[in-house]
């Protein structure tokens, strides 16, 4: 089947008749000048093939590697360290530096909410949520240093606020406005530059999350101390 005949069918369906005039915005329609092909067989067969390859890979992996199964659960025998599932290890790594409320509740909630708001920033402002994702990941790692700094000045206040990580939350709020100010930099007048930074910052965020996961998985031993995996 030549691809031209597929296109011919869609050409045929492009004969539109005028029915009348209405007020308001036009109804959204697909770009009619676009080159289209029929879903069957072009897409269906590709999906079928992709699913087949996925099943083959899964089968080979399942035959070769056994899922981990340790000894039966024993509440009286705490492993050291007790590690969360790997996708939560970035949070557990953060728990090493920041209080549980920050690492376990505030930051994950903040990351999810910030993710959700990304589409609602226009133009250069999209750098704000993406930059904020990074500061939300970095600033809690310095919670201990922030706390010691405040502790040196006002020990009572520092001890009182540490549990909810209030200094960190204040610093995070400031960082949001710092990122917003940074996005007003004249170099972001150019859309292409914004686009470049948008991609780079998000990839940086993903890399940082991955590094935290890898540290938690391979570089943390008893008492969450640093270990080298090859020793």
């Amino acid at each position: 089947m030549a691809p031209d005949s597929d296109v011919a069918a869609t050409q045929e369906s492009k004969d539109l008749g005028l029915l009348g005039f209405i007020q308001g915005a036009p109804a959204p329609v697909a770009d009619l000048d676009e080159d289209r092909v029929s879903t069957y067989p072009h897409l269906i067969m590709r999906e079928f093939l992709a699913f087949g390859i996925m099943m083959a890979v899964l089968l080979v992996v399942s035959v070769m590697f056994n899922a981990p199964l340790e000894e039966i659960a024993n509440p009286g025998k705490t492993p050291n360290p007790a590690k969360a599932p790997w996708y939560f290890l970035s949070l557990q790594e953060m728990l090493h530096y920041a209080p549980p409320f920050i690492a376990g509740v505030f930051i994950p909630g903040l990351l999810v909410l910030t993710m959700c708001t990304i589409p609602f920033y226009r133009g250069r402002m999209v750098l704000v949520p993406v930059g904020f994702l990074i500061t939300s990941l970095v600033i809690p790692l310095f919670d201990g240093i922030i706390w010691s700094g405040i502790h040196a000045v006002a020990p009572g206040f520092a001890n009182m606020t540490r549990i909810y990580g209030i200094p960190t939350i204040i610093l995070l709020t400031i960082s949001y406005f710092v990122v917003a100010k940074w996005s007003l930099n004249p170099r972001f007048d150019d859309e292409a530059v914004v686009e470049k930074y948008r991609k780079r910052l998000f990839v940086l965020f993903v890399i940082m999350l991955t590094i935290l996961v890898l540290i938690g998985q391979y570089f943390r031993g008893p008492e969450w101390r640093w270990v080298w995996p090859w020793r």
Binding site: T39, Y40, L69, E70, A73, V105
Partner: protein
């Protein structure tokens, strides 16, 4: 007391066999020459009709009562009239076919979800969510149940793969800026799907009831306990007590096999429907 009469076995199969063995046709087919002639007769018929016609007029037409599609109109009708395939439009932009447009990540996520549903249902046949049974079930799956090891391995690795593939799908959509208007809502639905994927994986983590499961979930739920003021209450509701115990196992089991898959399925359906309504964005 009367002695019951012995029941004579008169199954349908026996009666057909008796009727068949006496006939001339059976003698004919049993002889080498007769069998060769019958074979030759039908082979000639197949040859005359052509294999294509045999395939096209076969009994499976009742299941899929259409000739193979040839014209573009017939091809479109496949996507429009089939229930399973009407998830797709009849035609798609050529740009959407390019592998580097999507890397197939969204489709693979859905495929992995399907694999997890099938293997998960099969695992449920063997699994009892009780602290004195669960671990033994795992050992049985490893050593006793036919293909049990592969079943469990496949469920486990598919779950890990799904977390990775869904995350990569999100990265792809972000890089291509496919979340911009009018697709903001679908991006949010996607984030919800990612969170549900993580929760599904996390609740499944406890079910083998080994040391890995118990302490990973202890660490995870301790984090939930850090919510100000109501943290301890949230943790109590999650665990069904103060420690990870029988009540926790049952709660996580119910969440893992009922609540979370159903809601993820609903959100996935919503996600796909919005892709249809908003139009396919990739590769522009």
């Amino acid at each position: 007391m009367s002695v019951p009469e012995p029941v004579i076995e008169r199954s349908l199969r026996r009666r057909i066999a008796n009727a068949w063995h006496g006939t001339r046709a059976s003698q004919y087919l049993s002889s080498r020459k007769g069998f060769a002639k019958v074979l030759a007769f039908f082979s000639y018929g197949f040859w005359v009709a052509g294999w294509g016609d045999v395939v096209r007029t076969g009994p499976w037409k009742a299941v899929y009562p259409r000739p193979l599609p040839e014209t573009p109109r017939e091809k479109s009708e496949i996507a429009i009239t089939s229930f399973a395939l009407h998830i797709h439009p009849a035609t798609i932009p050529r740009r959407a076919l390019k592998f580097s447009t999507t890397y197939g990540l969204g489709g693979l996520s859905a495929g992995l979800f399907f694999v997890l549903l099938v293997t998960g249902v099969l695992l449920m046949f063997y699994y009892v969510p009780a602290t004195d049974h669960a671990y033994a079930n795992m050992v049985d799956l490893q050593h006793v149940v036919s293909l049990g090891r592969i079943l469990r391995n496949m469920h486990r690795w598919s779950a890990h793969a799904m977390v990775v593939v869904v995350s990569l799908h999100m990265l792809r959509v972000f890089i291509q800026r496919a979340y911009k208007s009018p697709r903001q809502l679908n991006w949010i639905i996607g984030v919800i799907c990612l969170v549900f994927t993580l929760l599904l994986s996390f609740t499944g983590y406890l079910l083998p009831w080994d040391q890995l499961a118990l302490w990973a979930v202890t660490v995870g739920t301790n984090m939930a306990g850090a919510v100000p003021l109501i943290g301890d209450k949230i943790r109590y509701v999650l665990l069904g007590g103060d420690t990870v115990d029988q009540a926790t196992l049952l709660r996580f089991f119910v969440l893992h096999v009922n609540f979370l898959p159903v809601f993820l399925g609903i959100f996935m359906g919503y996600h796909f429907w919005r892709v249809r309504k908003d139009g396919f964005s990739g590769g522009k």
